[in-house]
């Protein structure tokens, strides 16, 4: 930012952003003409996991790093465990190990997506973006749509029960360990989970239908809100099928053309790097070959549905096909389509859970495997919010000597700035911070389901403060959203 410039620019600050997970604030910078120049979402916390896990024993990593995030701890538990599989030479897990981990992961995707859609985002969609903040929350939903609220609570609860049965505990369990898992599914747990799965699938189908209608009824506005064309990154199974637990990296450009494909996790550094800006604790990942300026990309449900060739569960595949028609042969770029894609994945997760519950392997007795020790382990996983990278080095004494974590929300860092900029361009009236602007900035950020806890490896409430800043760096207006 050119602080020394003599021309006049303005800056808007929004703080705090609530109903998203973590700490952030937004500044909108205006140019000399009073038009939007850039928007910045500042991530204001820092934790330092990369440094303080050094010296810890490798098998402690999964339980330590999952404390990055209490919303999707299973992602970090599993990704660290997968990296440590490489360290202990477990190149192929036992069928019970692999399937229990998958069950755990789909349980988590199910609960996390349900939480995000119903508890955090539906108040905007169902009560209105400009509804009174006192009721514009999950409590307002419970009062106005009691049946939907109950369904939301029970969906999240079901996902949490799957996690408890596989990881031992609803939040910060221990189920995944280097080389496998520490428990299989008991008869009792299996019966308990099977009882409600058909209901969960049914509710998931209805949820997709609910959002689809909301979106299509307001498509002119929602398809533009905070939207722009971008690259997409995700992992897919070798045959191009959507796979949230394991696979190969693929990147597509805004036209849907492949930038890279079939990239193994161990080669990630050749394709993905991170930039740093002095105004945020969250880094800025980019596709190395395209450079920092053009290489930024989006991850998460929208990226995954855009990137995969098909889904291997019938109900979700049908929804995927309908969703992709929106793009007319190209990726769907609408930011608010994230919700739609997220609900397709919720349905997919429910279908997968059902499939796994019927698989006798989840009750197998062979839980752990190992092979020749290695000193470096890299793993990639699709967390609810997007592609997650864990990279560790371990010495002969079993101690971690290096850790590098690129978490999902970090990849959406630049995209969230772009969305805020787009909203500001469309809704900023003069140099005034209006209430609709504040609301829509939040709505656009929330579409990404940002987990800023993970992203800075820090968390807190999510304040939204908008600052309007001029070219000299002077704050013209500052507004706290409340």
């Amino acid at each position: 930012m050119s602080v020394a410039s003599t021309t006049k620019e303005k800056k808007i600050v929004i703080n705090p952003v609530t109903r998203i997970e973590g700490h952030a604030k937004v500044t909108i910078h205006l140019n000399e003409k009073g038009k939007v120049d850039t928007a910045r979402m500042h991530i204001v916390e820092f934790r330092g996991f990369e440094r303080f896990v050094q010296g810890r024993l490798y098998w402690e990593a999964p339980v330590i790093v999952q404390r990055l995030c209490g919303i999707c701890p299973i992602s970090h538990l599993l990704c660290a465990a997968k990296a440590m599989d490489v360290i202990v030479g477990a190149d192929r897990l036992t069928p019970t190990g692999e399937k229990m981990r998958r069950l755990m992961h789909y349980g988590q995707v199910f609960q996390s997506h349900a939480l995000h859609f119903f508890h955090l985002s539906s108040p905007d969609l169902l009560l209105g973006y400009d509804a009174d903040p006192v009721i514009r929350n999950v409590i307002g939903i419970a009062q106005k749509y009691p049946e939907l609220a109950t369904q939301a609570i029970l969906m999240r609860k079901y996902g949490q029960e799957v996690i408890k049965a596989t990881a031992g505990k609803k939040i910060h369990g221990t189920g995944a360990i280097p080389g496998g898992i520490n428990k299989n599914l008991s008869d009792e747990e299996k019966t308990f989970l099977k009882k409600d799965i058909d209901q969960m699938i049914q509710w998931s189908v209805e949820s997709v239908a609910l959002y689809k209608k909301l979106y299509l009824d307001d498509i002119d506005r929602l398809s533009k809100l905070g939207s722009f064309e971008s690259n997409y990154v995700s992992i897919n199974r070798k045959d191009g099928c959507l796979d949230l637990y394991d696979g190969l990296l693929r990147a597509k450009d805004p036209d849907g053309k492949i930038i890279f494909d079939m990239v193994k996790p161990m080669d990630y550094l050749k394709y993905i790097r991170e930039g740093v800006r002095d105004w945020s604790y969250m880094k800025f990942p980019f596709i190395y070959s395209l450079g920092q300026e053009k290489g930024w990309y989006r991850v998460g449900p929208l990226a995954r549905i855009n990137n995969c060739d098909f889904i291997d569960t019938p109900l979700a595949e049908k929804e995927r096909q309908e969703f992709m028609e929106l793009g007319g042969g190209k990726p769907v770029h609408a930011t608010m389509a994230y919700h739609w894609a997220r609900l397709i994945e919720t349905l997919h997760a429910a279908e997968k859970i059902k499939e796994l519950l019927d698989d006798p392997d989840i009750q197998g007795k062979n839980l752990v495997t190992s092979g020749d020790r290695r000193h470096e382990g890299i793993a990639i996983l699709e967390a609810p919010r997007g592609t997650l990278f864990h990279h560790y080095k371990v010495d002969d004494k079993d101690q971690i000597t290096m850790a590098n974590l690129i978490v999902s929300t970090t990849s959406n860092n630049e995209p969230m700035n772009q969305s805020v900029r787009r909203v500001a361009e469309d809704y900023l009236e003069g140099a005034q911070i209006t209430e609709p602007l504040l609301n829509l900035v939040e709505v656009a950020i929330r579409a990404y389901d940002p987990c800023l806890s993970c992203a800075t490896h820090a968390i807190g409430q999510m304040p939204l403060k908008v600052k309007l800043i001029d070219v000299k760096g002077d704050v013209i207006e500052e507004k706290v959203h409340d």
Binding site: V13, T18, R19, E21, G22, H23, R40, H42, V44, E45, F46, R47, G48, E50, R51, F52, V53, Q54, I64, R67, G70, I71, P73, H119, P133, V134, R136, N137, V138, I139, A142, P146, I153, L154, K170, H172, Y268, R273, E274, G275, V276, D278, W279, S280, Y281, K283, P285, F389, H391, N404, I406, S453, H457, I459, G460, Q461, P463, L464, K467, D482
Partner: protein
């Protein structure tokens, strides 16, 4: 009579305690019949609307802003409850207290294998990171402590209902966790 008010905050934690509070599941509906929620990350209320009966704090203090929010909660809340390891002891984030903040920053922003053109963030729009992570009771007076990483949903339920009924909470032995 107006319903008692509850406010919550997540400082330097992982949100897991808030998630565990949501794990009371169907009892959420009962809870919102009993209380009104004031400032909390789960709703859209960003400033205190007035005095609050019970404040729930997750996470310790890792930034100047964390400490300010905590002091604000102390000012507005009649009863302040610290929940989870991070609030009680600093928790996992306080593992950084064994090394210098500079080293942690350098590792993340300069030395990381994926970092290109690294720089240590430093801007008036981002919080000042404290030299170390502090547990809540080192910053303000805390009235109750619920241990656990996170405390189980039943522990939250017992403490909240007890405080609302004006009795001392009794967390059953099985729900007292220190993991």
């Amino acid at each position: 009579m107006a319903k008692p008010k509850v406010a919550t905050a997540a400082l330097a934690g992982c949100f897991g305690c808030h998630m565990s509070l949501l794990d009371i599941d169907e009892r959420i509906v009962k809870l919102i019949e009993l209380v009104d929620f004031d400032k909390s990350p789960i709703d859209d209320i960003k400033r205190f609307t007035g005095p609050v009966d019970v404040g729930i704090i997750e996470g310790g203090c890792a930034t100047q802003e964390n400490a300010e929010v905590l002091q604000l909660f102390r000012k507005y809340c009649k009863v302040l409850v610290a929940v989870g390891e991070c609030a009680l002891t600093g928790g996992i984030p306080s593992m950084r207290n064994t090394v210098s903040l500079t080293e942690c920053m350098e590792e993340a922003y300069l030395k990381g294998p994926s970092v290109v053109d690294g720089v240590i963030p430093n801007d008036p729009d981002i919080s000042l990171i404290l030299d170390r992570v502090y547990p809540c009771h080192e910053v303000v007076k805390i009235d109750y402590f619920i241990p656990g990483c996170p405390p189980p949903a039943d522990a939250f339920w017992e403490v909240l209902t007890a405080l609302l009924e004006g009795r001392e909470p009794k967390i059953p032995y099985q729900a007292l966790k220190y993991d």
